[in-house]
Symmetry: C3
Subunit: 495 residues, 3 copies
Amino acid sequence: MKNFKKGFKMLAFLLFINFLLFLNKALNSEEKILKITPETQQCIGCHSIYTPGIVKDWKESLHARTFPSVAIKKSPLERRISVERFPDFINPEYVIGCFECHSLNSQLHKDNFDHMGFKINIIVSPKDCGVCHSKEFKEYSESKKAYALKILLENPVYNKLVETITNISTLLPSNSTLHETCLGCHGTRVQVKGFKKIKTPIGEIEIPDLTNWPNHGVGRENPDNTLGSCSSCHPRHSFSIEIARKPYTCAQCHLDPDVPAWNVYKESKHGNIYFSKEKEWKFDSVPWVLGEDFKAPTCAVCHNSLIVSPDGEVIAERTHNFGERLWVRIFGLIYSHPQPKKGDTSLIKNKEGLPLPITFNKELAKEYLIEESEQQKRLDQMKNLCNNCHSKDYINGHFSKFENTIKETDEMVFQATQVLVNAWNKKIANKENPFDEYIEQLWIKQWLFYANSIRYASAMTGAPDYATFKLGWWELKHNLENMKKIIKLHSKNKN
Amino acid sequence: MKNFKKGFKMLAFLLFINFLLFLNKALNSEEKILKITPETQQCIGCHSIYTPGIVKDWKESLHARTFPSVAIKKSPLERRISVERFPDFINPEYVIGCFECHSLNSQLHKDNFDHMGFKINIIVSPKDCGVCHSKEFKEYSESKKAYALKILLENPVYNKLVETITNISTLLPSNSTLHETCLGCHGTRVQVKGFKKIKTPIGEIEIPDLTNWPNHGVGRENPDNTLGSCSSCHPRHSFSIEIARKPYTCAQCHLDPDVPAWNVYKESKHGNIYFSKEKEWKFDSVPWVLGEDFKAPTCAVCHNSLIVSPDGEVIAERTHNFGERLWVRIFGLIYSHPQPKKGDTSLIKNKEGLPLPITFNKELAKEYLIEESEQQKRLDQMKNLCNNCHSKDYINGHFSKFENTIKETDEMVFQATQVLVNAWNKKIANKENPFDEYIEQLWIKQWLFYANSIRYASAMTGAPDYATFKLGWWELKHNLENMKKIIKLHSKNKN
Amino acid sequence: MKNFKKGFKMLAFLLFINFLLFLNKALNSEEKILKITPETQQCIGCHSIYTPGIVKDWKESLHARTFPSVAIKKSPLERRISVERFPDFINPEYVIGCFECHSLNSQLHKDNFDHMGFKINIIVSPKDCGVCHSKEFKEYSESKKAYALKILLENPVYNKLVETITNISTLLPSNSTLHETCLGCHGTRVQVKGFKKIKTPIGEIEIPDLTNWPNHGVGRENPDNTLGSCSSCHPRHSFSIEIARKPYTCAQCHLDPDVPAWNVYKESKHGNIYFSKEKEWKFDSVPWVLGEDFKAPTCAVCHNSLIVSPDGEVIAERTHNFGERLWVRIFGLIYSHPQPKKGDTSLIKNKEGLPLPITFNKELAKEYLIEESEQQKRLDQMKNLCNNCHSKDYINGHFSKFENTIKETDEMVFQATQVLVNAWNKKIANKENPFDEYIEQLWIKQWLFYANSIRYASAMTGAPDYATFKLGWWELKHNLENMKKIIKLHSKNKN
């Protein structure tokens, strides 16, 4: 009977555990016991009434469900924060809440203001996130992404292109339109131009008056003089690694006609598998286990996530310098070229004195670009990633096609450039603004739309229809022919 | 021992409940005890053999799983039907089945016919759905959607555009082609032109002979003289609120190049979050709880669903008049303008006598359009919705950009219109049909494709690449330049 | 007390079962007891280290989880293999692993090589898959898909089109570029041109040197002289029926601008329902039960899967000859026409002696095309499929619109062809290469882009905006007008 009772107790215990498990699942995250700082509790007191959506987002985020003291003890591969110890003002026994982020480095934040008795920054900058995610902050700050605004508007060539496209008649484009076009992705300059009063449900309050706000572009200039916006990819206030890893995030900016990474991915085999199976994959695991958490690459797999094999071996290190794994730059410029050494590409000068990594004649500004050995190293690393599902020969075959495509598309742009130079020489077009006349627009399309697209289709080993008809060879050929026809027509009309 | 037995019974009971829960989940809906009217039982008797797909759809629909007597007792916010009491012919103790819907208002239905001994309507019209969903029927009937067919084909300006595009050579377009193009969305005129015999597995039967059928366009004219088709959004026979709420439904008609709401949403941050997380959201809750059922807006959130806060406070009332929350109309016409007061916009006359809300010179037909105060009220309501996740200042920043974009795109269209008028005056083009010549086609693109697209991108605070290169400023600028070039070339040729 | 103990045992047993079920779910597939051949065990020994991704894919595939001896005993409708008995070299008590597939028919495989002591084929060809899936192999081998490479490059007309589009300047296109454009879908010629040494983590190894590899196009020519690649749709090494059935697979090649099946589906009601509900559907059931496993058609439902009704009645037989259910061919050629009798369409000769199923004057090469009675039979079968959710009259209405659209789009192409012939006759263009001049490019667009697109939109009863503005009547009309204008301008210039 004793044994019997013991057995019964065991059984009851098992059932009870089961019941608890069920309960745990049934209750939503709100019911969990969160240890929240008194400051954040006050934020939530009001904001769960006034902006309940973001409070809900936060409550389900990892920030609200993890104690820093636990997070910092994880094994190196599992860690999501990169500092070795917290600064004094972080109490690791409290979850990270509103106040913890919106009060950081307040002395640097020109957007700091008195809000209900607290000194609050409107914008949480990469430097603020870097308090715990120091490595990510550093990497990002050195990337081309961080300089995305600067290298667009402070490069006179690009600036001319931007202004030529987005103005109404002969005026300069408005800040507002720049903000909704190029700077939507590249980021705006957010400065404090003073203070202003606004009406709220709890009366008039005074807040910093920000320029070009709101914006979450990757190269945003923040009121604390840092560059970037972590919420470009980890949207506020879920801070989601899942969303950041899914290709929809990259797709906000990297899409056709000028950067059709997303469009090409969608039409590729890898994209096909992603769409078919992604609901069974895990997008929030750290490290991210190839073959287990996911079965086909997404943008983040190849370009920046920490990837390990099912055996736990590191296949690729995490990086928030998004160009770091790349050897060649295939978009945004006239010809492809080795990746720049530094994120701030506005420092580059080519032999013609222009702030571009390559001349019209395809001469590289070598000193600013990574060496061949570095290129090879990065290519080998990428091949290593592919090698987890594909054989060496399969991979070599793929990349040799890619190499050929780069060569051929560069050649097709070179031919177009020669036609353009011819047009300038013959005074068919005026070189002063190289972007505003019809033949110049065709030339822009040749490199910015068609050559780019074909290279993307090649890089991702998919999207053959894209490379053929959509924005591919069909257009690349005909566009060049049209450019030539303009010269021919002009010559004929003259005679 | 007694206590022991009691404990054991408790345990057994718990296990049994568990088993029942499992059973309930395992069995599919068919096994549920449905109280079905004898008439509907007869329908199902045959149709589960002849059209099993729709019977399955219905069986899993709420109509088949809810007793009207229960549905009507729900709390105001939870109610899915809007009548206060049922008419006599509805027995609220039976679920709503085939016969209940297909036999309504038969005296009004010219498509009523004798089918296996029952008087059946082929088409269930909005008025029929309105027997239980009276408020939705009324709202819809007053919306622009209900008049979508009328305001296209009975407006001579639009009719001319339609005819110019869809005919082969100089003939009028065929009904069939109209039906598959413009009227696919706008709806067809479904009339009974007589009766006809068709062959079926159970022999020849006689049925009403309908014109322009099948069609589920939003402004369909039905054989009972009502307007619209509830199945445009709630597809037959699932009547799904989930499908209607998901953006794929709106996307059937609101997409590029003329109404790129969907394309822009896809590229926006909100769209990104939707795609990443929608599988965890609940799309069939009534009311729809912000922050709990969904975490980012979809079309339905902003434009028509009943939205409440996590505390149960109403954020937005449900409406089936889909323009009701809008203050400005940004597509489909030459210039943006205040929303029309009434759904039937064919009644509008501008100062030039044309059935348009605005003249070529941007003069508004004010008496037909909502007042500024009404505009402000609606804008404030929309801002209130945004305010659940975004701060006042953030929202004001967004909408001030939108305002500027409306102004600038209208200006860019105005410039194009001036070029066109110039072309007409100089006899470069013939005004008689304003849609059929090359320069006129460019002008159409300016407002119908490019200006529209930029406004959508702005409205949804996303899609900067769309607003730049895709169908945005890049095209808006170059298209205007091309129009000007035509005038210039003509002048040159003359001299 | 005895009964009590019995009850208790029963309870304990139930709990234990429950526990096992939980365990089974919790453990991943690796833990399952797989009976694997010694050869495959050796493959896995290395490859789970060197290419863990594909090993993981395989482990979760049906091949790794099913014993052939069990698979062959399934009821006819449930069977996934089609042989009646296995050849001797298949031991049906072992799962199908690496070696089982990569060692088949080695005498035919020029890509066979000695790999770690085993004779391995690099490429698993359709014939190899046919060892178990014999019916599918046979059907596929007779389909147009199998001949996709041949009928493109060995048809001089098509070959000319391919070469005209994809070369840089006047040279022939490179194999590499062909491979990434047209042949990405159509398939490449994979031949063994010798052997080569490559470096691997385990030292240098010698492998066959393949031409045009890697490639998974549908008409790939394999080193064993078979045609096709099963992994075009069932990607390696998951062999997934789920992925093959989901429209993303078809979408890799059937998309805009030339074959916009996917684009049109996305905008259709059926596509809308798919996107909204697919996560609740079952894509791996055999047979595939309409109304239960899925609620709206996907590509595979209409074109090739085995579909049964909820009562288990066969609605459509499985076929891997993907044109077999089609009566009319609506894309890829100048005019629509009856489906060809055979997959190898390069055998067709029209009255003008060209390898095309129809002449410029719309005369059919009848002897190569299916008869009207066969067309009717196939159309009736398709209607039968639709009939599971739609009424006879509804379906007839749909297909009569489709018929009209085919007629009208053919007429619009015919008008364009007449303009082109006129241009050739007047020496405005040179007939020799019918694809390389501006007016010829417009003519190609007329049939390859616009007429095609409108027909697809019509066929799938959706996408009215596509058929109107996107690649539809708007373009079809204006393109024809542009062609006429060229003739007119030329005549004017002459005078």
